[in-house]
């Protein structure tokens, strides 16, 4: 298939799908953050009238998914593939929403990189002619993540300054073939990178090498400079991981600083006591789906590189003394009138 691959690891989408609908449902804390007004829905609390936080997370993802389809003016029956993932064991939030959606479902797990993974796979399905409409979604919830990965929520444990705060929220996106909206032009699927970091309280350091690796690969493959983008935004490297990524890329000859930001840093105010920033699948979903997309539609960003990052470990692997492997997937998005062919 000529013309579909660029360099070693990047896919060029000759029929770029458009993001024709996006919806973000955020928790109260996220609503109080600097981007609060960009989210479609801000919930009053983290239970949403449900009995458990897990059920609440399902509800948030469900709401996001339905709202995204509404905004895209598509029916559930139009969706050819539903791609979703979350942080819960066996990705149950996505599974239970898929149960309701009842369309062909591909569950994904990329830890906090799941949004980019879903957009990447969805974009390739459409560009390859395998789908006309793809629904991509992801969710995370602070309390479901805490009780699964760390400690009971009422436990008086002290969080070190490198720790991040799992974002409560959900984001959903409808991708369409030949539709009207920001276009996904390139996809660089990441490789797992493990530099031996073992501290689950410092995921920024664990994931930064993967982010640097993917960004480097993407820029190499496309021949672009960092400044060819108006914004390069990583998922949740936070205040610790972001500077490390910048340093790593500078050493490789790329200066990101004029255009580089991180969703984990953007989503919370420093006085919200989230230490190194936000994390979780919803971190990139809320910031990208809420803020970045709206800025693209408003003409303020023409070309954006979304690089969601994930820490691919489990409480068991950490307890067994294993290090934390990281991954990052890059998705290049362009405003509809800017697409150029490399």
């Amino acid at each position: 298939m000529a013309g579909k691959r660029l360099g070693r690891e990047t896919v060029f989408l000759a029929n770029p799908p458009a993001i024709v609908g996006a919806a973000t449902v955020a928790g109260p804390m996220e609503g109080k953050g600097p981007l609060g007004e960009y989210f479609d829905v801000v919930t009053e609390d983290t239970l949403l009238g449900e009995k458990t936080w897990e059920k609440a997370e399902v509800k948030m993802l469900q709401e996001a998914v339905e709202l995204a389809m509404k905004k895209a003016e598509v029916q559930t029956g139009d969706i050819d593939f539903f791609l979703a993932g979350d942080l819960l064991n066996q990705i149950i939030a996505s599974n239970f929403v898929a149960r309701k959606i009842s369309r062909p479902y591909l569950g994904l797990y990329g830890a906090c990189s799941t949004l980019a993974e879903a957009l990447a796979v969805g974009a390739m399905l459409i560009d390859g002619g395998f789908a006309r409409y793809v629904l991509a979604g992801t969710s995370s919830h602070h309390d479901t993540a805490e009780r699964q990965f760390r400690y009971p929520t009422e436990f008086g444990v002290q969080r070190p300054p490198t720790s991040t705060w799992t974002v409560t929220g959900a984001g959903a996106f409808v991708l369409a073939e030949g539709g009207h909206g920001p276009l996904i032009t390139h996809v660089t699927v990441g490789k797992v990178v493990d530099m031996g970091q073992k501290d689950p309280n410092d995921m920024g350091s664990a994931m930064a090498p993967a982010a640097a690796e993917t960004i480097w690969q993407h820029l190499q493959d496309t021949g672009r400079r960092a400044t060819d983008y108006d914004l390069i935004v990583t998922g949740d490297l936070g205040r610790v991981g972001k500077p490390i990524t910048e340093v790593l890329l500078k050493k490789a000859g790329y200066d990101l600083s004029p255009v580089y930001n991180d969703c984990g840093i953007m989503i919370y105010d420093p006085n919200q006591d989230t230490h190194a920033g936000g994390s979780g699948t919803a971190c990139s979903a809320l910031v990208f789906g809420g803020y970045v997309l709206k800025e693209i539609l408003a003409g303020r960003y023409r070309r954006v590189l979304l690089v969601a990052t994930g820490a691919l470990y489990s409480p068991t692997s950490a307890q067994q003394g294993e290090s934390i492997p990281g991954i990052a997937h890059a998705v290049a998005i362009e405003a509809a009138d800017v697409v150029d062919i490399p």
């Binding site: 928790g27 109260p28 804390m29 109080k32 609390d45 983290t46 239970l47 936080w53 602070h142 309390d143 805490e146 009971p152 929520t153 009422e154 444990v157 002290q158 705060w165 409560t168 501290d199």
Partner: protein, 120 residues
């Protein structure tokens, strides 16, 4: 005066534990295990009893006291039961706090619900 000593000794033990946790980057559970074991060992040397004389509640409130109470419980029970006290003495002496833990734990779990951390 005894209140001051309680404050100082209790605070000092906790501060030491904090230094160990931050310095060694240890998980809280490891530090708690370490300190309760140290309490038992110190008890064996008669040192923890001395600390209690100095600091009263400052020494009995922190976790090392649990180790101390177990050791002393065994030793006291050994007067009556000899070697069997190794199996009986510890829990005998700490029956009250342990039972309270279980009952209070269950009761409060029944009556209360965790309210989560991120409601603003």
């Amino acid at each position: 005066m005894e209140y001051l000593m309680a404050f100082l000794v209790g605070g000092a033990i906790c501060a030491l534990a904090q230094l160990v946790m931050d310095g060694g980057k240890l998980l809280p559970a490891y530090v708690m295990v370490l300190f309760v074991s140290l309490g038992a060992i110190a008890s064996g040397f008669g040192l923890y009893g001395r600390l209690i004389e100095i600091g009263n509640a400052g020494a009995t409130i922190p976790l090392p006291n649990f180790g101390h109470a177990l050791v002393q419980g065994i030793l006291e029970d050994s007067a009556r039961r000899g070697w069997l006290a190794l199996l009986s003495g510890g829990l005998r002496a700490t029956a009250m706090p342990l039972t309270m833990s279980i009952i209070a734990g269950y009761l409060f779990a029944l009556l209360f619900t965790p309210h989560g951390k991120s409601n603003g």
